[in-house]
């Protein structure tokens, strides 16, 4: 009996310590999420104060289904996410393997890997925008010198080049992060496995396929899921490099334009809810397809 009441007392203390965080998260996360969903059932102008919401039921969603721009933004976002995450994974694995080898300047290399990660996305977008400049940009200059292109390209103005150009920026910025996560995974693989394999006469390539890769799968999956969810909500790099432009706009860029620039609080909220559902769909796909254990 005494033990039981002690446990109850401890539980009360725990709840008291949790309470501030829970209250804050209810106010800044749960409530705005619910409110956004609720607003998606109304027509309302962001600039009205106080708001004068007019009930429209599912009309915003009916419009969303037929909205060609929404589907363009979904397509752009999925292309962005799939291409950049795939490239980041392959390049990140390569860099992780390279840095996992022991060599004198390894420390400097690890520091260099944190630089792109630490630079604010807006800043890196501006740096690359300048590098991509069609006349004075260093990218064209380097490619011309290397004879890889014959005349300067308008990286950010050509509708066929702009999305790949932005993807390249994202790859530069997040590959090192991927590499660091994978490096931590690589370093948790016991050295003895490789020693035993070498004794048994396994080649380095065999060791990679039969030891490194299988043991790296958990770290790889976690990194993959994180990066995909991150890429699907992309906003900063696209907004800064090409504004609201049908050849690049992501779901977040389009939703914000409707919501803020056009003041369409109801329709913008329906788009936000749509994004939430698309991302939730990806989470479910990942969790079921890969049967990831959540713990």
């Amino acid at each position: 009996m005494a033990r039981r009441s002690l446990e109850q007392r401890r539980a009360r203390i725990a709840w008291a310590f949790l309470a501030p965080t829970l209250v804050v998260l209810l106010v800044v996360a749960a409530y705005p999420l619910f409110r956004t969903f609720q607003l998606s059932l109304y027509r309302a102008n962001l600039l009205d104060y106080p708001l004068r919401p007019e009930w429209v039921g599912l009309a915003n969603y009916a419009y969303l289904i037929r909205d060609a721009y929404w589907w363009i933004s979904v397509k752009n976002t999925v292309i962005f996410a799939v291409v950049s995450v795939s490239l980041e994974t392959v390049l990140g694995l390569g860099i992780a393997l390279l840095v996992n080898a022991k060599f004198p300047l390894r420390g400097a290399m690890r520091t260099a890997m944190l630089i792109p990660w630490a630079i604010p996305t807006v800043v890196s977008a501006q740096m690359w925008r300048w590098m991509y400049n069609d006349v004075y940009g260093v990218v064209n200059d380097l490619l011309l010198r290397a004879h890889l292109i014959e005349k300067p390209l308008a990286w950010l103005a050509d509708p066929h080049l702009v999305l790949p150009a932005i993807i390249a920026v994202d790859v530069w910025k997040t590959t090192p992060f991927m590499a660091l996560l994978l490096l931590a995974g690589l370093q948790s693989i016991p050295e003895e496995l490789y020693e035993a394999a070498t004794v048994d006469g396994a080649s380095p390539v065999q060791q990679f396929w039969f030891i490194t890769l299988p043991l790296l799968v958990p770290a790889l999956l976690v990194a993959l899921i994180f990066r995909t969810l991150d890429a699907l909500r992309v906003f900063d790099v696209i907004y800064v490099m090409s504004g609201v432009n049908p050849s690049t706009m992501s779901m977040s860029v389009y939703a914000r334009q409707q919501l803020v620039d056009f003041g369409a609080l109801g329709y913008g909220s329906a788009l936000s809810t749509g994004i939430f559902l698309v991302i939730a769909l990806f989470v479910v796909l990942y969790l079921t397809a890969l049967r990831v254990e959540v713990d």
């Binding site: 409530y31 998606s40 604010p120 996305t121 996560l181 906003f235 919501l259 913008g268 936000s272």
Partner: protein, 279 residues
Amino acid sequence: MPLWRVLKPVLFYLLVLLVFVYLVFPFYWAVVSSLKSPQELFATPVTYWPAHPRWQNYRDVFVMQPFGRNLLNSAVVAGATTLIALLLGSFAAYALGRFRFFGKRPIYYAILAVTMFPQISVLGGMYVLIKTLGLYNTWWALIFSYMIFTLPFTVWVLTSFVREIPRELEEAAYVDGATPMQVLFLVLLPLMAPGLVTAGLLAFIGAWNEFLFALTFTVDDRARTVPVAIAFFSGASQYELPWAQIMAASVLVTVPLIVLVLVFQQRIIAGLTAGAVKG
């Protein structure tokens, strides 16, 4: 065979060098561009080193743009966000890492889930809430909304640190009649210092770099933070962007981050991998 033995380290270091240049070059380019005069900046062929370094560009950032104010806004917002997230986060981490109670698991996962969901999915509701509370275009609008991504992450990192601290010290303190609050502040927090540094750094960097909320919840330089300012730097005309100033400002906000990263790289890597690998 001997040829391969010579070639292998050469190829290896070439590869290392290539990766290093790839990672660092854009930052190098920003530094070089920030020191060029307009004539050199807008000249072909491109030069790879400024002929006459022009430090004036750095002064212009503060004179021609309200960048000092933007820096102050960013520092206050990121600093306050970090302190609040650490304070609330260590309370929550203490509860989640040390106590057993009904409903702990669902709460832990609910907090985790908040770190996953996209900021855009709360934008409309948050905007209305911030207007209603009268916070629009103030520091508080940003500190308030930044809790959504800093607090859950802080709780998560700190909880993993609390779990690794041995219980004996705490129990001794309880036997001596300390209250739970005293135990947290006098016994646990000092031991959690590395965790606080890690979580604090990541929260600070996250808040310092945030763009979407800062863009949406501010209208002028009263509360506008550095990322928004850098995105909107304007020159004499709409078509002529002040690239040297943009690059100078970019270097100015990146250098402190690089210093932080240099000093605390072990802690940052520990935090990033604890968050992702153990999660």
